[in-house]
């Protein structure tokens, strides 16, 4: 019974949340539209107003207040609050939200458009959304509420039917309601836009203009509210359903609870933006431009045809090979520095140093080591009877040279992870093996390495991802040269996104990189994880 009551309560709360969320969005959109209309009104007053002449009080519905701006500010203070001082200094449209009313103020300039000589303040209409929007929202909300309560009650008692099925009608009403509201709001926005001058490239960055809310964005937000609520309802129904074993239900609830904090952030700060870049990749999109045309898959076509993309892809793949090398060395270093030696802690810290030193310093040191004339490496080679080489100047050695630096940077990082992992190797197991006569080498390969597999998998997967994504070294050491031999994909993404302001193309590149990484990781997972599960 408690189960049932709890399910109904949660279903009600979620449906109410939907209602409130949609109402709030509709209200905000309506208010923004009314503000824009009020500004238009203010503009027409301002244009008919001669700064040297008091406007006539005749047929206008305004109350003109002439006199020094200071006095007026004082009069307005009661309505606008102490911030009314801003009227005198700020050259932009201001929105004043008091608890009862919204005011829009438009500064009035002198004939040379130089000094602020006054301001037109207009009270905006209360939100004038078509009544049908409210009816649909409230109606759909109430209807869904009833259906959901019934569905939830059934889900908590019915042993046979799938819980989703029982709340489906309620969820469907919410979905239809959401769609209708989104369409109506968009229609309303279009209607308002008709009454306003059309936006141009100039108005985009004009502080004397209020932008109407973007209809598509509003629809997206409303859909987001719906999706979140629907997921909540379905989840609640599922949890409430007795066809699930009690323990499974409890486990699921606990798991979701544990995942919630990271999940919400992930959704907001990674998956949302990621979806946004997917959309961007179909456009020619510049943060500054007003004109952002839809170009379909042209960005992808362009990159596939670009030999520099393929070259960067090849370099990226080759560059990633440093990861397994580093892992081997890091495991060696971890075992080596795992001894209870005097001063070992200092040694460990020293090995870790490159991971925290600034990239600029790393670049300087390694340029010095690799230098053709005075470089340390050539010096040593010549001592040993070899010949010098311009390591970073030769396209065939530049990338390997960078890989060596990467190994050196990442070594400490990976060593620390292995050190921590080594602690998870039970000493009893090693001791037992030793008593069985296994040598230290055998113990290392037969016990330590297999037990470290999850850690190794982590290092490999994240290391490869890291190697595909980090370009700081390239950026500070070679900028992709010589002859594009160190040009990698992320560097191209960075250049396109920021230097060339081709956000659409950069997004397309990122999606290709993203797809590649997913493919690679699945492959690694398939190959290695089976053994990991076995070992664990």
């Amino acid at each position: 019974m408690t189960q049932e009551r709890r399910a109904v309560r949660w279903g009600t709360i979620l449906a109410a949340l939907w209602l409130l969320g949609v109402l709030a969005i509709v209200y905000r959109v309506g208010a923004a539209a009314e503000n824009a209309l009020a500004l238009e009104e203010a503009r027409s007053v301002a244009s008919s107003f001669d700064a040297n002449q008091r406007p006539a009080r005749t047929a206008m519905r305004y109350v003109p207040v002439a006199g020094p701006i200071v006095t007026v500010v004082r009069t307005m203070k009661r309505q606008l609050g102490p911030a009314a001082e801003r009227l005198r200094t700020e050259e932009r449209v201001l929105i004043w939200q008091t608890w009862r009313q919204r005011f829009i103020s438009l500064p009035v300039k002198d004939a040379d458009a130089w000094d602020i000589v006054g301001a037109v303040v207009v009270a905006a209409n209360p939100v004038d959304m078509p009544w049908i929007v409210w009816v649909v929202t409230v109606g759909a909300g109430l209807l869904a509420l009833g259906l959901l309560r019934r569905g939830m009650r059934l889900a908590a008692t019915d042993r046979e039917t799938a819980p989703y099925y029982l709340v489906a009608d309620g969820v469907a009403v919410l979905a239809i309601g959401t769609a209708v509201v989104a369409i109506l709001v968009r229609g309303y926005l279009q209607e308002v836009a008709m009454r306003l001058p059309p936006p141009t490239a100039i108005t985009r960055f004009d502080p004397m203009v209020l932008q109407l809310p973007n209809g598509r964005l509003v629809a997206l937000v409303v859909a987001g509210v719906w999706a979140a609520v629907a997921a909540g309802i379905l989840g609640t129904a599922w949890l409430a359903s007795p066809s699930q074993a009690l323990s499974a239900r409890r486990t699921a609830r606990t798991a979701w609870g544990f995942l919630a904090p990271s999940g919400v952030h992930l959704l907001l700060f990674t998956l949302g933006p990621l979806a946004f870049t997917a959309w961007l990749s179909l456009y020619r999109w510049d943060l500054l431009a007003t004109d952002r045309p839809f170009i379909g898959l042209a960005n992808y076509r362009e990159l596939l045809r670009d030999p520099q993309f393929w070259n960067a892809l090849k370099n990226t793949a080759l560059y990633a090979l440093y990861v397994p090398v580093t892992m081997g060395l890091a495991l060696g270093a971890a075992v080596l520095l795992n001894q209870p030696l005097r001063g070992i802690r200092v040694l460990r810290a020293m090995v870790f140093l490159p991971a925290i030193v600034s990239y600029v310093a790393i670049a300087m040191v390694w340029q010095w080591i690799y230098h053709a004339d005075y470089g340390l490496l050539n010096h040593v080679l010549q001592r040993l009877g070899g010949t010098g080489h311009d390591w970073l100047g030769d396209p065939s050695t530049a990338l390997p040279a960078l890989m060596v630096v990467s190994v050196w940077v990442q070594l400490g990082y990976q060593m620390v992870v292995y050190l921590a992992g080594l602690q998870g190797v039970p000493a009893t197991l090693l001791e037992a093996a030793r008593l069985d006569g296994a040598g230290s080498w055998t113990r290392f390969w037969r016990i330590t390495v297999p037990l470290l597999r999850p850690v190794s998998l982590y290092l490999l997967v994240t290391g490869i991802i890291w190697s595909f994504q980090v370009f700081a070294l390239v950026y500070v050491m070679t900028e992709g040269g010589p002859a594009r031999s160190t040009d990698v994909l992320v560097y191209q993404i960075y250049q396109n996104a920021w230097e060339f302001r081709r956000m659409g193309y950069a997004s397309a590149l990122s999606w290709v990189l993203f797809a590649l990484l997913i493919g690679l990781t699945v492959l690694q997972w398939r190959l290695l994880n089976r053994r990991v599960e076995h070992a664990a």
Binding site: A255, P340, L341, V360
Partner: protein, 277 residues
């Protein structure tokens, strides 16, 4: 007999020598940083670059750190690091534990999504994240500065891997005794994961401390800048004041180093104990 007795000693000696050689190799750039930090402004630019300053110029440190309000920068960095590390630890441990321990419908899908999020090229998220933080009105605030890194998917993944490699018998025993899931997590799982948590904290701290692009884009005012942004400001397009930059960078390194030394004992203590036993 004497051969047997000497062999481990020889092994110990060689490992010790190898360890020292590796460590010296690793420490070179740091020494270079210190050396540069003590050089004259022009001395750095000689050909070939000098290894040591002709006469150490300690004033570089004082001058570099007072040219800009570095005290404020350090405070900001500390706040950012503290908040993000705490949040990342909490979220990462919880998420990783859930993914490692619980079997529930959709678990595989959730894990795939987390793993997928790991692969998103971070550089391309900068603009969308900025637009988001801007929409939330948090640009140029401490909240905006911290917001993007409150959760680290790397951390979740790392904690999952560690929890998988830990034995789960103790947890199951507690579960049979009727302990709540949250209690099991905080009382049993977390203490066992201390080394992983310490490692994670270390990495999270370094990432937070060294972040450059996000703090730069999302803050405007001087009073919200972090140390790394401050250091970067000695490095212009045509002109870099290397000694100042390195003096500031060496100073900024000290907290990271301290954190390393502080966390080190957690991820190595157990090993030493088992070695002594």
């Amino acid at each position: 007999m004497p051969r047997n007795a000497r062999a481990p000693q020889m092994a110990r000696l060689t490992t010790a020598v190898a360890a020292v050689v590796v460590a010296v190799l690793m420490v070179a750039p740091f020494l270079w940083m210190v050396s540069t930090a003590l050089m004259g402004e022009f001395e750095v630019l000689q050909y070939p670059p000098p290894l040591l300053p002709a006469s150490p110029r300690w004033a570089n440190f004082r001058e570099a750190l007072t040219t800009l309000p570095f005290d404020r920068f350090f405070l900001n960095s500390a706040i950012v690091a503290l908040v993000t590390v705490t949040s990342q630890l909490v979220c990462g441990a919880m998420g990783g534990y859930a993914l490692a321990r619980f079997r529930f419908p959709g678990a595989r899908a959730v894990f795939a999504v987390y793993l997928g999020a790991l692969m998103v090229p971070g550089i391309v998220l900068l603009i969308p994240r900025f637009l988001l933080v801007d929409a939330l009105g948090a640009v140029d605030t401490m909240a905006g500065l911290v917001s993007a890194e409150l959760v680290s998917v790397w951390g979740v993944f790392m904690m999952r891997q560690f929890f998988i490699s830990l034995p789960r018998e103790t947890e199951d025993a507690a579960r049979i005794d009727g302990a709540g899931e949250f209690t099991i997590f905080t009382r049993i799982a977390l203490p066992m994961a201390k080394p992983a948590l310490a490692t994670f904290a270390l990495f999270a701290f370094i990432d937070a401390w060294k972040a450059l692009l996000w703090p730069l884009v999302v803050t405007r005012s001087m009073s919200l800048r972090t140390v790394e942004v401050g250091i970067a400001s000695f490095h212009g397009l045509y002109y870099a004041n290397w000694p100042y930059q390195m003096a500031a960078a060496v100073t900024a390194l000290l907290p990271v180093f301290a954190v390393f030394l502080a966390t080190q004992k957690y991820f190595t203590r157990g090993i030493q104990l088992s070695g002594l036993r």
